[in-house]
């Protein structure tokens, strides 16, 4: 447990001292959401209706562009070799790194979402629903992406392959995230059903993502 916390602490410390890396996703998210009203036109009703989808797609893409850095720095300088020999089981090493990465990239996205939602003329209730679903959905996206990040850690320009590998796996999270948000705005479905499935997907990714990322490291050895 001490080792687990030490790893999260180290990653956060490096991210804060280096700057830059963590902000990229957030700025990308901001840009995507701000240009959307210009592209769609000044139809407030339409914007409010597609707002949750815009926020979710932007959050997914912003998560994707930051993912290649998840293990790359540790792979480049040899830290990954030592982490694999650590006292901590490899899936927990993956989990600790994912948590630190999410705190620096996913969490700011979820927290910024309600403010950006205002630009899209979204209702207060929709803002709340998007924030809650993103808080549950972004860690799931990062966990799913961890496997791809582990497979492409050794590649210099693995970003694109990574995106192609993990994007299809992220689609269920996107579907249930958006349907939960739409349900919160009224509709035949209650908010709880799709939201429970979203939480389930997150828990599923927690188990499978950490284990398959560890296996991916071993597979890319030979």
């Amino acid at each position: 447990m001490i080792a687990f916390r030490a790893l999260i602490r180290r990653d956060l410390l490096i991210a804060m001292r280096m700057g830059g890396g963590a902000g990229v996703g957030l700025v990308f998210f901001l840009m995507l959401v701000t240009i959307m009203p210009f592209a769609v036109g000044p139809d407030l009703v339409l914007l409010a209706r597609i707002g949750p989808a815009i926020l979710w797609v932007a959050a997914l893409l912003a998560t994707l562009i930051g993912l290649d850095r998840l293990f790359q720095a540790d792979e480049e300088d040899g830290s990954l070799d030592l982490l694999r020999m650590a006292y901590l089981p490899l899936p927990l090493v993956v989990l600790a790194k994912v948590i630190a990465h999410w705190l620096m990239t996913g969490l700011p996205l979820a927290l910024a979402a309600p403010f950006l939602g205002l630009l899209l003329a979204m209702e207060p209730q929709a803002l709340l629903a998007v924030t809650v679903t993103l808080l549950v959905g972004t860690p799931a996206l990062t966990l799913i992406g961890a496997t791809g990040a582990a497979l492409t850690a050794g590649l210099r320009r693995g970003g694109l392959i990574l995106a192609i590998l993990v994007m299809p796996l992220m689609i269920p999270v996107l579907i249930f995230g958006i349907s939960a948000t739409s349900a919160a705005l009224g509709g035949p479905l209650s908010f709880h059903t799709p939201f429970a499935i979203l939480c389930g997907l997150g828990l599923f990714a927690l188990v499978t993502g950490t284990i398959s990322a560890s296996l991916a490291f071993r597979a890319s050895d030979s």
Binding site: I2, A3, A6, L7, R9, R10, L13, I14, R17, M18, E76, D77, G78, S79, D81, L82, L83, R84, M85, A86, Y87, L88, R218, D221, S222
Partner: protein, 200 residues
């Protein structure tokens, strides 16, 4: 404690790098691995560290902690220094101490031991190649692991640091440790030698 390897073979991307390799290292013993570039010294160390799979043969480790795999009983010092430019040597050592388990020397004392005490609070980005190496050596001291796998540890070290390195390894051996050291240069300590040339 004893490490015995027999009939070891390693194939990497279809090419046989190590074949029919066998040797034994006992507690308190150091084994120098020599051989030309590409003869499999680094590969052997990575295999023992559990970072590469074997294709045949056995690696037996006896007398260590129960149930601990060899990778948790070994320190690995590779070509890359696992150094984070934005962290200080003290922060790095404190981190590795908690990650590697079985804490030994405290980080500040370890830094003094490798004559880096003055740089403890400086971002590691400012360290020279030799100082980086010494910082990696300090990592071997902060956690207790009986088997040291060192890949050209004396590269970039000056004369005085080489002597210091010899003393570190000698200390480790007198406490019953084991060491495998891949090297091209003569080592500052007495070792048996395993030559990997001719295996190719």
């Amino acid at each position: 404690m004893k490490l015995s390897v027999s009939g070891l073979a390693v194939i990497r991307s279809g090419r046989s790098v190590i074949s029919h390799l066998g040797f034994t290292v006992n507690a308190g013993e150091a084994l120098a691995l020599t051989g030309p570039n590409g003869s499999g010294k680094s590969t052997l160390l990575r295999v023992l560290a559990g970072l590469l799979p074997t294709s045949a043969g056995t690696i037996e480790w006896s007398g260590g902690q129960e149930d601990a795999p060899l990778s948790e009983e070994a320190h690995y010092l590779g070509h890359r220094d696992a150094l984070k430019p934005s962290l200080t040597p003290l922060e790095l050592l404190t981190f590795w101490r908690s990650l590697l388990g079985r804490a030994a020397t405290d980080p500040l004392t370890a830094l003094e031991r490798v004559r880096l005490g003055h740089a403890a609070y400086l971002p590691s980005a400012y360290l020279s190649a030799g100082q980086r190496r010494r910082l990696s050596l300090a990592r071997l001291l902060v956690a207790h692991r009986p088997l040291w796998l060192l890949d050209e540890p004396t590269a970039a070290l000056d004369q005085a640091s080489e002597t210091m390195f010899g003393a570190l390894v000698a200390d480790h051996l007198t406490r019953g440790g084991l060491a495998l050291i891949a090297t091209h240069a003569p080592l500052p300590i007495a070792t048996r030698t395993l030559s990997l040339e001719g295996i190719l």
